[in-house]
């Protein structure tokens, strides 16, 4: 979340970070994903604190390298640190991130209670990203990446991903 009172220098770093994409969902930036937890600036030295979405997410090393590369290209001396606490939550995905995710074809995470129902197959609450139907079913709790479950639409029959709530 970019706040108005943010100092210009930090604003500049945020703008650079907004160009770094999640390699698994390339329409989302690391800011959209909510994995940037803090930025410390000291002249050209910048320390970026990030947090992994899933412990074993193979994209994290790549994301850290991309952040370093982007900041180096702008003349900064970057250091990327990984934080475990507090653990990442899908609630940290920005509104803009959720919108882009849906357009890309991944259903955005529901809040926790609805998510549990969806993944237990109790309620039809996940909307098909192709036709908008709510008549969908869970195919598998685990999908193409650690963060997603696989759904199928009962109306248009197309499969689609759902970003799990954690």
């Amino acid at each position: 979340m970019v706040e108005k009172s943010m100092p210009e220098a930090e604003q500049r770093v945020r703008e650079i970070l907004a160009t770094v994409k999640d390699p698994e969902i390339p329409v989302l930036t690391v800011e959209d994903m909510g994995i940037i937890r803090d930025i410390e600036l000291d002249g050209q030295k910048v320390k970026v604190k990030i947090t992994p979405t899933y412990s074993g997410c193979p994209a994290m090393d790549e994301i850290a390298a991309d952040i370093r590369k982007a900041l180096l290209a702008e003349g900064y001396e970057p250091e990327v640190v990984s934080l475990l606490s507090p653990p990442w939550s899908s609630l940290w995905i920005s509104a803009e991130g959720r919108r882009k995710m849906e357009v890309y074809g991944i259903a955005a995470p529901l809040e926790e209670v609805a998510d549990k129902r969806a993944l237990m197959g109790e309620k039809r609450v996940v909307k098909c990203t192709h036709c908008g139907s709510m008549n969908t079913r869970l195919v598998s709790q685990f999908g193409s990446t650690a963060c997603k479950a696989l759904f199928q639409c009962n109306d248009c029959l197309e499969p689609f991903d759902y970003f799990k709530c954690i």
Partner: protein, 250 residues
């Protein structure tokens, strides 16, 4: 170096490491695409968690030790995983039964470790439990589906649940290090662990219509470095690259 803490972290990391390796063997060999992907994802989560435990262990150890040294350059008797985790994949029911017992135990252990006085341990546990919640849901649903399924699936599930029952006692045998860690507020209370495990597994097995195995003895040794013959083969596979090309990096 704080040797007790180091040993404790090895105990925490070795079981998910070895089980993760077993699950990774199924990548591309699962019974169907969805379960194949699910088991590979669970393996990936476990490896991520193991990295967190071993990174911490490496820092406690000092002297330039890394997470990779710990994972790849120890000998068999230095691994502290429970024997359950090294048991080979036979059929899908076996994979699920092994996972079911492990997840039930892992979930309760991590729940307690979220309250650990050691902040790094509680942070890793809080991160891991979000993932393990999905693992436990996956394995217990399959126990129910197979138990409550066809005659064939039920027979296989019951057989596997009964077979792996002889490994579960070790999950609740406290080593000296674990006693020390519990006493200092860092580790878990094994009485609570066992009670939660029993209550969860009994509930799922009842729902699945499966018999709850009655067994008053256990296979043991892994937590003291005495393993079944299977671990050696796993390590041969796991460590091949580092042993053949020492210090090799990607």
């Amino acid at each position: 170096m704080n040797k007790s803490l180091y040993d404790y972290l090895i105990l925490l990391g070795d079981s998910p490491l070895i089980l993760g390796h077993r699950l990774s063997e199924l990548c591309g060999h699962g019974p169907n695409l969805e379960t194949d992907i699910a088991l590979s994802n669970i393996a990936l989560d476990l490896f991520g968690q193991v990295r967190n435990w071993f990174q911490y262990a490496a820092e406690i150890h000092g002297e330039g030790k890394t997470e990779d040294d710990i994972a790849f350059l120890r000998y068999e008797h230095e691994y502290r995983n429970v024997i359950l985790t090294e048991q080979p994949n036979k059929d899908f029911a076996w994979v699920i039964a092994r996972q079911f017992y492990f997840d039930a135990w892992h979930y309760s252990l991590l729940t307690q470790l979220c309250e650990s006085r050691d902040e790094r341990i509680s942070a890793i546990a809080a991160k891991s439990i979000k993932e393990v919640t999905y693992h436990r849901r996956f394995s217990s649903e399959w126990v129910k589906r197979l138990g409550d399924g066809t005659e064939e699936s039920r027979a296989r599930m019951e057989n596997a649940i009964a077979h792996f029952a002889m490994y579960k006692g070790e999950l609740f045998e406290e080593t000296n290090v674990e006693k020390e860690m519990f006493a200092s507020g860092t580790g878990a209370d094994f009485k609570v662990l066992k009670a939660q495990f029993e209550s969860f597994t009994n509930e799922v097995l009842n729902e699945a219509g499966l018999e709850i195995p009655q067994i008053d003895w256990t296979q043991r040794g892994g937590k003291h470095g005495v393993h079944s013959e299977h671990l050696g083969y796993i390590l041969a596979d796991l460590q091949y690259m580092q042993r053949a090309y020492p210090g090799m990096q990607w």
